[in-house]
């Protein structure tokens, strides 16, 4: 993972083609170290949440063919799946947008444009967080009686 130069820990001579014995470089401290740690902690949680979600929704048991309003209504009847999906929403958005920030750091060199691109992603992220949160917690299929899954 590419990290801005000023934050580097001096890692000594590293042999080509190997990582050396001191491991990969990591930020020395401050926000970038917390970001580094967050990517790994959220990554472990997303290993369950995102990979589980993808296997359940897209691969197993007819995958996306069985997904319709009734399927979502039946699934979200369980607080467990609502919590799962909400946690996935939050962690995936923060992990993904922080990842975009690091990619932008590498490729967008002009400060004003970099700021604007980052702000665009933050605004999209916040908007999607708000939209997703409202829908996950307010969804009530009984507003559409007679549809499969609504009770």
């Amino acid at each position: 993972m590419a990290i801005e130069a000023p934050e580097h820990t001096p890692s000594g001579p590293v042999r080509r083609g190997s990582l050396g014995y001191r491991g990969r470089e990591r930020p020395a401290g401050g926000f970038e170290l917390w970001s580094w740690l967050f990517m790994r902690v959220s990554g472990v949680v997303l290993l369950l949440l995102a990979v589980g979600h993808v296997l359940i929704m897209h691969v197993l048991d007819d995958g996306v063919d069985r997904v319709d309003f009734g399927f979502v209504a039946a699934r979200w009847a369980s607080p467990f799946w609502r919590t799962w999906d909400w946690a996935l929403l939050i962690l995936a958005l923060i992990h993904g947008i922080n990842g975009l920030r690091i990619v932008v750091q590498d490729y967008v060199r002009w400060p004003t444009i970099r700021f604007a691109v980052n702000m665009l992603f933050y605004v999209i992220g916040f908007g999607l967080f708000a939209l997703g949160t409202v829908v996950v917690f307010t969804f009530d299929p009984s507003a559409w009686p007679g549809t499969p899954g609504s009770r």
């Binding site: 990582l19 001191r22 309003f69 999209i124 829908v135």
Partner: protein, 131 residues
Amino acid sequence: MAKRKSDVGTLYKGSPGQWSWLLHRITGVAVILFLFAHVVDTAVVGWGPEAYNRVVSVYHNWVVKLLELGLVAAVLYHAINGVKIMVFDFWPASARRMKSIALASTAIFVLSMIPITWIMGRSILEDAGVL
């Protein structure tokens, strides 16, 4: 003319990790960009069955299902390669086994994609009218 080959890689003088670094980045960006659209299409469920079923029918198109197979591969690659990164980060001594760990993580990805491609591929071919 003899083929020139760098002693550490094929593209520029990086390590084999340059390829997994690039794939990690590409799959990560692909997944987050899909997520932007996916949160919106899922949120439509709050507007009732007619709206949601119309939106979700897009996912039942076989061309979109082909992209969906790519999405699953991207999530899986990013996840497995992410574990590899954490192994190197938290157990620096494992860097001595860098090549075999990289090979193992690639093998886990490829092997897990075999049944997934079989399952999703059948559905794609059925919808495309081939099966």
